[in-house]
Amino acid sequence: MKKSISNWNNYPVVEAKEISFDNPKELSLKLTHSSIPHGNGRCYGDASLFSEVVNTLRYDKVLAFDETHGIITCQSGVLLSELLQIIVPRGWFLPVTPGTKFITVGGAIASDVHGKNHHVDGSFSNHIVSMSVLTGTGETLICSKNQNSDLFWATCGGMGLTGIILDVKFRLKGIHSSHIRQKQIKAENLDHVMELFDQNTESTYSVAWIDCLKSGKNFGRSILMLGEHAGTDETPVENKLLAKEKSLMTVPFHFPSFVLNGFSVKLFNALYYAKNYKKEMNSVVHYDGYFYPLDSILEWNKIYGKKGFVQYQFVLPLETSKEGLKNILTRINKMGMGSFLAVLKLFGHQDDLISFPMKGYTLALDFPIREGLFGFLDELDQVVADFGGRIYLSKDARMKKEIFWKTYPHATEFQRIIKKYDPDNRFNSNLSQRLMLKV
């Protein structure tokens, strides 16, 4: 039986047959048609959508935890939120975490997620010791940076196209406290925030919220948020290693689309900027609020209404970042298509096979889907490509294939490797069809 499924942005919606498994032996018998692995559905697009999807959420056992060295082995369907409950009380943290903890380990690898510490620690793949993948040839292969390394690199950031990630062993980061020492610095405009990023590359975590709708001398005003894992003496609570599960709020229904407009977003931005009444604010906060502010509002995606939204995230090489960001922000400004959450970050160096990050600035924004948006984004794509940048596949539901092939320099090599491990296209997705990745 088919059911309607979509990812976090509610666009696109596809009719799909869903199969699931909790045992690899049973899985190989079930893979009768082309399919794509699907975790917790938190990507923003069509990377994990197809007419048949393999839900990995039941494959969620944690198999081993070396508490002395901080190495954990788990099945790919376990959520980062579950891992945090296990590792934080024992003095360990995720080596890299995206802005939500409600993703699976398999999803973290298929997207090769990055976090606020990319400039220091790289992306998720950097911390994998080894993993096993059920490939399109029906074999289960162990891969790592040294073993079957072509499979390894095509799986990290490979959007599930090499096969189904099964068991993963990866390194954690030691912590003394579940709290983060946070510093927030107001930046008057884009030049200023870029200067601040530059001055704070030593900081473990850094990210900026940026107001996309401001023009004039406050064009690109931002709040830069820096963070370090706090020591035990700075942690205000008795229990220094607490993985708390906050009480959660839920957005009860899809908001009508008129709720979000240029005015309400401007108002939100003004309030958000004004809440930091001082130029620099220091505090010690729990990691949950620091890394996952939106996770406490369950189903916040419904704010964007039933039509859904797209998230647009691109990266530009460092040399062209300033000019490129100015160009793109000016366009967004002119269109009045602002977004509640625009996030700016300076990546460190990375040049993997198909992963998204590269040295330079990345900007992520949400746009509610409305008339004219896709044409506008096509224009932005062109600008991003002209400046030598690229679009994040995990957040993409609409990029044209020409742009992809132009902007991912190792795309041909990636295509060759996925063909090697999946000669009959047993794994396929709406994304891979749209971008012509499977031939």
């Binding site: 039986m1 059911k3 909790d22 032996k25 839900n55 039941r58 944690v62 198999l63 081993a64 409950q85």
Partner: protein, 244 residues
């Protein structure tokens, strides 16, 4: 020493939800089931998550002759026994194929009676213990789409109620659980209404709470109570014409 829970049919999603909750609450766990690969993965998971005392044993619900020996050779006598195994089966196939029909009846009713008789006799002697049976809302009224499964579960629900009545004066508690829809393998390709569909984690929490509170019968989501009152009260003359 910590109390022990024996979970029969421990490889299912619901069983995992239940095992995680009891392990988190400090119980030692005995996982019993047919598939050792699965049990070993679950055992590892419980050990990592809760530093718990967990072991796995082979158990086949349909191997009636061995149930007595199985129970009496357990390394540790349980304080709580939770019977989770069951089989939805294929109603249409089972209507014409006796073997698959028999499998449904045996898995959901006869097998449970066989093993729980052994457990009950032991608990009666020990004058303590809790027996939990995972039955089903499908046992409350037969519907054309799954009445073979439903009738076996109806038998199981009656069995549990009789057992509760028998064991009460011996200080043994019997809990009947009718989960309603739960997001598990059993319903992986069914569309079920969100508010009526629980997660395995919720099942674990509700079962644990009911064991502690000595509740007799629960639905996992309380909303099922009014829903089932309605379903039970549709006049048979109307019910038989419905497509259910």
């Amino acid at each position: 020493m910590e109390e022990n829970v024996l979970i029969l049919g421990a490889a299912s999603d619901m069983a995992v939800g239940i095992a995680r909750k009891f392990a988190a609450e400090g119980y030692s766990i005995t996982l019993a089931g047919r598939n050792m690969d699965r049990l070993k993965a679950i055992e590892a998971d419980l050990k990592v998550r809760h530093n718990g005392n967990v072991s796995s044993v082979m158990f086949d619900a349909l191997d009636f002759e061995n149930h007595y020996n199985f129970y009496h050779s357990l390394p540790e006598k349980p304080d709580v026994v939770i019977s989770v195994f069951g089989l939805l089966g294929d109603q249409e196939e089972a209507q014409s194929d006796w073997k698959s029909c028999q499998e449904i009846l045996f898995s959901n009713y006869v097998g449970a009676v066989s093993i729980l008789n052994v457990v009950a006799n032991d608990f009666e002697k020990r004058k303590k213990g809790v027996i939990v049976g995972i039955s089903s809302v499908a046992g409350e009224r037969g519907r054309q789409s799954n009445y073979l499964y439903g009738s076996a579960k109806a038998g199981f629900t009656s069995y549990l109620s009789g057992l509760r009545n028998r064991m009460f004066r011996h200080g043994v508690h019997v809990l009947t659980v009718k989960p309603g829809f739960v997001k598990t393998k059993m319903i992986e390709n069914m569309k079920t209404p969100g508010p009526l569909t629980a997660t395995p984690k919720e099942v674990g929490e509700r079962v644990f709470k009911a064991v502690k509170a000595k509740t007799d019968t629960i639905y996992v989501r309380p909303i099922w109570s009014p829903v089932m009152i309605m379903i039970r009260n549709i006049p048979e003359g109307v019910f038989k014409k419905m497509k259910l």
